[in-house]
Amino acid sequence: MTYPALTRRICAAAVLAVATAGAASAQTESRPPPLPIEPIGIVETLPQQYPESWFLLHDAAFFHMSDGKVIVVDTAQDTVAEQIQGTFNVSLIGNILQSSERGEIYATETFHSRGTRGERRDYLTIWDQKTLSPVGEVFLPGKKRFMGMPGREALLLLNKGKWLAVANFSPASSATIIDLDTREIISEVATPGCTFVYPTATRGFSALCADGRFLSTTLKADGSIDKQVRTASFFSSDDNPIFERPAVMGDRAWFPSIDGMVWPVDFSGAQAKVGEAWNLVPETERAEGWAPGGIGIIDEDDLGRFYVLMHPDAKDGSQNGGGSEVWVYDPKKKSRVLRIPLQEWGLSIAVSRGKQPKLLVTNPVTMAVELYDGQSGDYLKTLTGLGQETPLMLYGAK
């Protein structure tokens, strides 16, 4: 780059000033020495491992979808300057998944050659946790990667974290399997009538079907299909639909239903095993019409509990609208262990890892996020002014 003539003159003056500054200050005895000239071009980095107090805020930017981003936030801090650790863009309501083992964050993105028009190209972008720079990308052919309200069920690490499954929806449904070592697609698995990718056995995944079943797929070492089996139908997507969003702990998952039940699912074997549903709402409170609702409606902690965003007076149409409380469950006891009334209203929730879990909630009224103690339920603080538009999904950092 070359400055125009005038700029060069001004810069020369500045440098001259610096050269004479030492002399000038020597003449002014009472003054401290001048500030040193500072280096230009320094870029910060992040720690290899993200602390427990960090969260990823996925701001899908509902009003500017091609300019969505993830904000890496330290909720232990008290000022915006200390809270924001960095950001990276995710274009056109993508999905993200973090692998702390690999120190990478995966994001599905879509670009057009002219912003919102022109040729469409889909990618899996691989972000380095430490530098928040892209270290690789995988082109996703077919213009079919799942693109909808962000969630945790469109991406899945499998085969001990070596592979990544990407859910497709065109609206024909399938999953693309990527080898994370070579950063190449190794196979595509059709999942007719069934959508999303849930952990199954060591090297497999399940999808959730319109007719109320799971389709479980196990894969061979080369990524091709070993076996595909369907469970019996356990719900009706017309009459008692479940949410596609489960709490997942290891090879167990809990799928809440729109009418307030929860289905435990054992994903340890080659075929999903659906257990018996139990009611999320204690019997004495059922007249109040409580049910889950929102976008990121559920998350789990390292203490073996899961959290569900709940609203009263549920009715047809309220299932995506969020809730006024977060209820915490012990799935072993099949019972609620804590009730956290929110400051105002919640749209999505996430829980931090570790022995002292914190709950982060998107408040859709202010689009700020609020932090609560996962054990006492106490409200701790509100984080806002982070440059967010619509932080639709939250993730505890891994």
Partner: protein, 173 residues
Amino acid sequence: MKFLDRWIEQGSRDLAQRSSRRGLLKGLGGFLVGTASIPLLPVARASAAQGAGQPQEEGDPSSCDYWRYCAIDGFLCSCCGGSANTCPPGTEMSPVTWIGTCLNPADGRNYVISYNDCCGKSSCGACLCQRDEGDRPPYRPDKTNDINWCLGTTSAAYHCSTAIVVGVALEES
């Protein structure tokens, strides 16, 4: 700067945070559901005024309460340079979409409504409307509004949603 100090002291901070984000509250927070408490306005549809011998509907197609929007979730094309059943200039209508079944109060019939998205420009941003009646998660593609239906269009950029009458639903009575 003093106004900021006072403003914060007043305790009005929370109030002040709400703002035009109120629109988001309605849409993304899901509080807004069509209610009978809002009066229905006459629709600008020639046939509506012509009595029982002509097809009838009523309401304001730019209001979230409009009968056709019972299962919608998105920006109303009526507010974006289009109408309840046409796309704004320079956009492209998605050929595939989700459907809802909505009751037309003017004739007491349930209609099958196709919510075709208009694509190729970024979010319209006006008249966000989320009603979600009969909405199902994406594993039920025909009934889900949670995905971007700009599929089969040249661009995947979502702009707004229409609500097109594609048939009368099976009558209950």
